[in-house]
Amino acid sequence: MDAETARGFLLPLTVAIAAIGSALGLGKAVGSAMDAMGRQPEAAGKIQTGMIIGAAFIEALTIYALVAVILLK
């Protein structure tokens, strides 16, 4: 297996693995947000805002992996 083949195989795998990590993290975050909203429906607005912001941070890590792949391609 030469470098080109390894690259063609590993670059998409990189993004896939990053996506798995971020999916797990986001699932946990949104799940906790849903639990909190269920316990205290009055605070739903604040919890939703915090959830969106947290999701943006978690998403950013996947975006870094995507940017790295684009730069390497």
């Binding site: 969106i52 912001i53 943006a56 941070f57 998403e59 950013a60 975006i63 870094y64 995507l66 940017v67 684009i70 391609k73």
Partner: protein, 312 residues
């Protein structure tokens, strides 16, 4: 100053309602352009799709007016405009914002009308957010952070207008914004805490003997931490906005290539498969602008909160 920001943001609301008019105008214009230059347009988009297929020189992107100008009227002026299109579109956004600001500044009343009410709502929410995170000392940063939010949001959204381009989908613009924030935060750190206090903060604020011994470890850690902040800010915004642009471009290409199989009439070059992703792009643009502003606010609060600790 908040009044000025209020009026400045006043324009944004004025402009967004104008922009919806512009979108429909540009949509009909684009259809005319496409029917007249059907072969050219299909060539350009198919060229981009082909570039993407061959892993071409750059990632797929929807074309903008400056690219059309350079393709249809090749020459030194249009080449110059196309070479600098990132900067030109970012300048265009702030020129438009400023022009609308100046227009709306003429009619302001103590009892606000509808637009002024909306703008005051926006300014108050931004101000509450910043002051809520930094504390009362945050009032002096509200113009900078509020402008950051509005500018980034409008630049992100600008690319969704047919034929326009978001400058934040290039690392140049986002890195410039992140460096501005970084330099301002460092300057404020030195101004508020003094040079010695600033270095003390970087050493981890040692208060006991153990902490003093750990200073050589803390110092490089803090420096690296400070340097990664603009890096992550710029990469997050760039990755998100360029990713959404690429998504739109790929789906437009898909819509056109699906129709190409069926030998379409000239007035229907493709199926608009990308429309749901425009809504996703609206959400992403807003959230990324908010995250950039929020993180910058948090960096300010981290750098300057020592002063408030001493006053209590």
């Amino acid at each position: 100053m908040i009044g000025k920001l209020a009026v400045f943001v006043n324009n944004i609301a004025a402009r967004t309602s104008e922009q919806t008019h512009k979108v429909t105008e540009h949509a009909s214009d684009t259809v005319h352009v496409i029917t007249e230059h059907a072969a050219d347009t299909l060539h350009v988009v198919a060229g981009h799709a082909a570039d993407a297929a061959h892993g071409g020189e750059h990632a797929p992107e929807l074309p903008n007016w400056l690219e059309f100008a350079e393709l249809l009227f090749p020459g030194p002026v249009t080449k110059f405009l196309w070479d600098w299109h990132v900067v030109i579109f970012s300048v265009l956004v702030w020129v438009l914002l400023s022009v609308f600001c100046m227009i709306a500044y003429r009619k302001r009343a103590l009892v606000p009308g509808k637009l002024q009410n909306l703008i005051e709502f926006v300014v108050e929410s931004l101000s509450n957010m910043v002051v809520g995170i930094i504390g009362e000392g945050g009032r002096r940063y509200v113009p900078f952070l509020g402008t950051l939010f509005v500018y980034i949001f409008v630049m992100n959204i600008f690319g969704l207008i047919p034929g326009m381009f978001s400058s934040t989908s290039k690392l140049n613009t986002t890195l410039a914004l992140a460096i501005c924030v970084f330099l301002f935060v460092q300057f404020e750190g030195i101004r508020v805490q003094g040079l010695l206090g600033y270095i003390y903060h970087f050493a981890g604020s040692p208060k006991s003997v153990v902490e003093w011994c750990l200073v050589p470890l803390n110092f490089p850690l803090h420096i690296i931490g400070e340097l990664t902040k603009p890096l992550s800010l710029s990469l997050r915004l760039f990755g998100n906005i360029s990713g959404e642009d690429m998504l739109l471009a790929i789906f437009v290409g898909l819509g056109i290539s699906i129709m190409a199989i069926l030998h379409p009439p000239a007035w229907l070059p493709g199926i608009p498969l990308h429309v749901p992703f425009i809504f996703l792009a609206l959400l992403t643009s807003f959230v990324q602008a908010l995250v950039f502003t929020l993180l910058s606010t948090i960096y300010f609060s981290l750098m300057t909160h020592h002063e408030e600790e001493e006053h209590h």
